[in-house]
Symmetry: C2
Subunit: 347 residues, 2 copies
């Protein structure tokens, strides 16, 4: 018997974090008698009077949204991180260690339309979201020298803890670099010091040559299933040009990013003919921290669905206590996504 | 304004993994309009003819369960890890790295009774489960010298991906040490080398003195909310005596462990008056790998519920991409659990 990726249980290295992922290719054959999610596919109205994100509506803290017509940003009424947090530290024999953390949490409405999602928006409208991400990134980093990291992300779908279907994302900016980007920073730096080249540029070359995990490619971006993907249909968008953060993208690159975002999320919706839930977000170099020639902008998509619109992968027991584990191979997932149409199933 | 744990956003260090956790004490005030889980509190029969774990029933692979009367173990019909995996490695410029992994996955029925859960079982019956865990641990480690790590765990509740309510847990034994225990091993070793003492013994002293995060204590074990807990009501059971693995427990310690397991899970059920979902599991020293005087047996409980039987904490967007984050303080959670009755709410 020879070891075979497509058949035998194995581990793969996530080169961005330095951590291993378990792959059990044979495991999807198991019958599923567990939890089935409910899906709400009823169309939404363009405007919902009870939505706290729709233009003109009143939010729970009493403020009123302006009658916005493009993407719109405001500070989260229930921010996890606050700007006026006092400095403080606790250290009891190195066993209890705590340190205060300052931050700003922003909400980004992608569109005034309550009924849309990214795959249903025009490329031009997605471009406007990217422009707003840039404006926010710039404002947050230049007006607050204490901000060291800016996390841009979107939770989509109630299965991903999103409490409002109005298309929106979030930005959490804070005074230190959080765990996941910090791990990536270490790996980027190590590779750069040894190879004078970004880790993701080198990785991209391998993937472009192999084509096995590729989903989409345009002049400036690639969408693929990373070799070490954990979630069944996890993907990554990587910029072909190595940039440290979103501010460096040219107008042409912004259009290309909007295009690949639309195409990838259309494929996602088409996979199980449902509005596909995920958490997605960009990883970028720390801010107010000098130059980071090792960093390479990219965006992760972590979608929970495994078998259908209603059966997700549970990252529980073994995964929480021991090791992330997946049930289909990244190559199988990439092939499925690659083969899907670029026309949205709702037409 | 002075920095205050109970009020201000801060980070805490998980000394077992070396990673930080974000705490946002003020955040539970936010209204919740998102996903609400369904709860099935209808009592189950003692025997269910359609359950593939009940005594005498046929499983999906055709094998028949014996008419077992105590706890019962068998090899998972849909194991993630397989014993006859061939050796193999892939390495493409250090960018694509994979290596085959061998393992054995076991299912442990806690009781022949379909309607019970740990908090509803007699202490004697829980002791029998502990004895079976010991037997399994011993068999797996002594009959297979290639096994390096044994993960004993339980997924409870369909919200934790458990596909069968019959009380059961699992054991995944494998040829390498997975990510989470490996992180802990590094931290244990570092502390031991510097202090000639186990990290958790030192930590336990601090917690026993402070009492702030304590929930339960008997002669041999402590249940507490760790200072760095991520999940809202996350807890840990720690043995007072430093042992490397479950085989070292004496009969008296086994009884004490059964008692604290019953008491902790009763408190959990009482918290929201529901069969409390969680993933729980033990962390123990690697096996077939010499002596590990730095390791200290402990058991983690990761329960998802936050506000009620139907509203859980979502570890999504920011948490997946950036940093684990919690919404109430460990001290608040510990107080709630401490104050709950030791009588099960169902009587
Ligand atoms: O083996 P089970 O109980 O069918 O499966 C459950 O536990 C496993 C181990 O934590 C997970 O990998 C699965 O996603 C989960 O559904
Ligand atoms: O801020 P929201 O959208 O209400 O909340 C959601 O996203 C946050 C950031 O990922 C998470 O911490 C919450 O658990 C989740 O429900």
């Amino acid at each position: 018997m020879e070891f075979n990726f497509d058949e035998h249980p194995h581990k793969r290295l996530n080169i961005l974090t330095g951590e291993w992922v378990m792959v059990s290719p044979h495991r999807t054959k198991r019958p599923w008698q567990g939890k089935v999610e409910t899906v709400n596919n009823t169309p939404r109205p363009q405007y919902d009077a009870s939505c706290y994100l729709c233009p003109g509506n009143t939010r729970s803290d009493g403020s009123v949204n302006p009658p916005y017509t493009g993407p719109y940003a405001f500070t989260n009424d229930f921010s996890s991180l606050l700007q006026d947090t006092p400095e403080g530290n606790v250290n009891k024999n190195n066993l209890l260690q705590a340190t205060s953390e300052r931050g700003i949490c922003r909400v980004i409405c992608f569109s005034p339309r309550h009924d849309l999602t990214l795959p249903q928006m025009e490329v031009k409208a997605i471009e406007a979201v990217i422009t707003l991400w840039q404006t926010e990134f710039k404002d947050l980093s230049t007006s607050h020298s204490w901000i060291k990291h800016i996390q841009i992300f979107e939770n989509k779908g109630d299965v991903m803890g999103c409490s409002n279907p109005h298309p929106h994302g979030q930005i959490w900016a804070q005074s230190s670099v959080p765990v996941e980007p910090a791990k990536e920073g270490v790996q980027f730096l190590k590779y750069y010091q040894e190879n004078k080249k970004s880790l993701l540029s080198a990785y991209l070359e391998v993937e472009l040559e192999s084509q096995e995990r590729m989903i989409l490619e345009n002049e400036h971006f690639v969408a693929l299933v990373p070799f070490w993907a954990v979630w069944p249909y996890e993907t990554m968008i990587i910029s072909k040009r190595q940039v440290q953060n979103i501010l460096e993208f040219t107008e042409v690159e912004k259009t290309a990013l909007a295009e690949i975002l639309k195409q990838l999320t259309i494929k996602y919706d088409n996979l199980f003919e449902t509005s596909f839930p995920y958490s997605a977000g960009m990883h970028q170099a720390p801010v107010n921290d000098g130059d980071h020639p090792e960093w390479h902008w990219h965006m992760h998509f972590y979608p929970p669905l495994l078998r259908s619109a209603t059966v997700k992968k549970f990252m529980v027991g073994y995964e929480m206590l021991a090791n992330p584990q997946r049930d289909i191979t990244p190559e199988q997932a990439a092939k499925k996504l690659r083969d899907l149409s670029l026309e949205h199933y709702l037409g």
